[in-house]
Amino acid sequence: MHIRLTDEAGRLASLRRYDVLDTSPEAPFDKIVQLVKTVLNVPIALVSLIDADRQWFKSCVGMEVRETARDISFCTHTIQSRQPMVIGDAALDPRFAQNPLVIGPPYIASYVGAPLLTPDGYALGSLCAIDTVPRTFEGWQIDVLTSFAALVVDEFELRRIAQTDSLTGALSRRALLAEAERAISQYVNHRLPSTMISFDIDQFKGSNDQFGHAKGDEILCACAAFIHEQKRPGDILARLGGDEFALLMTDCDIAQALETAERCRAALPELRFAHDPALRLTASFGVAALNQGCLSAEQWLVEADQALYEAKQTGRNKSCIHVPVLPEGAPAQPRAADAVEEEVAEDEVSDEDIELHKTSVEPLSLRLWGRMKRLRRVKSAKTGRLAYGGLHPGIVNFQVLNLSETGIIVETSAKLAPMPEFFSVEFSDIYCRAQTCRSAGYVIELEFIFDGEKLD
């Protein structure tokens, strides 16, 4: 095995691929750690993963904390070598004598750690045994610890393989559901909006029957690779089965997700295939944002599938959104802007760091739809994150209705105007045909709708 000790960026990327940070405790790791504690007769044993600026414990006995800063961790030294690191008396080692974990709780006096080496040579962290008194670790104890460390990596590896669709490299359905549950938790606890896009290739079965499964697999792989290029780095692409895929977009409201779906839909026919140069792929997309009435991953997928079904039933090669039926009295949908505003508040950034933007006609890249926006964009100067105004539940309905006719905008606006929580000048997106959007009369009409507000 080629050990990559100096490639920190690659090591962190490898750690991300295993997708284990901040996951719940799991019995297999706890059993290994318990065996290490028993066999090596130590009070503390850990599976420690070294993140960019912290060490996080996947499993731990004998310590209460789940993470510490990286710069005080022993394990960050362990991953600098392919060999286990042994400290017989930390008080005598100049690297650790004044370490807060040595002079304070848990009062580490001796340590042995074996690096967790992946098959491709990266050290994700270490399996370590810690004592509160100085001691000598015997050679057999170090060998046993090293063997246990290899078993820890096997467990990580098993999860990674199970999470990946072997044909396309996208995540599996099971892994997607786990990620979706995390997004739901973020939504419930921090009002962070997330959106699921479910999509499948139109008439795929016919293509599969005509050219055979091998060519069908080639199409699936090309489609997955294409979507992978189109998505944001943090978005999660999964293959749900057959030709059905899903894209989970966290920190993303339905307007942004719809824009992504439409961009992908418009560009997909550009893919070319050697076995059939004339083949033009199209796909249908269903978009569903997390909402108060949907708090399980399975339900979320069902809602995205319902929108996908609608797209299929109404002509294919289109995107439809799921309109949630919210419980009475439910609060408004969180917007991406909420998260940034909370972040800004938490960071105690002054008002000067928040930029207000107002834009008007903004044709989308696919040139079919334009977007008339009267919204506030909030930018955190500290993180550089820019959030859109997003859509309130009423606006979701509004958006569906106003896709083609300005008359409907007038009618819908009149209905929504008495409900300022659903319809405000600051937080409204209007989707319309680009040609309509660019016409001067249309802009004047919208100014009238917005109660005389002058559009930029």
Partner: protein, 79 residues
């Protein structure tokens, strides 16, 4: 102390698994054997070694079964 290698159960239960998973299972099997050897060299009684190894194999298998189901659902030809 026994001088013959420990008989390890096949965690895949004889199923024809996808190559990526088969490689992982083989590595796990080798690592369990390596651990058993280390424990035996340290003088641990065979019964205790078997108990430890059984715990590890059982917990690995408990994760392997859903992994197999997941992979076979995605690729029905791989069984």
């Amino acid at each position: 102390m026994a001088d013959h290698p420990m008989e390890l159960p096949d965690p895949a239960m004889g199923l024809n698994v996808p190559p990526a998973l088969a490689a992982s299972i083989n590595r796990h099997r080798a690592h369990v054997e390596q651990l058993a050897t280390s424990l035996r060299a340290a003088g641990m009684p065979d019964a205790q070694i078997e108990a430890s190894v059984s715990v590890l194999i059982a917990s690995y298998r408990s994760e392997l079964i859903p992994a197999l189901k997941s992979l076979m659902k995605a690729d029905p030809d791989a069984h």
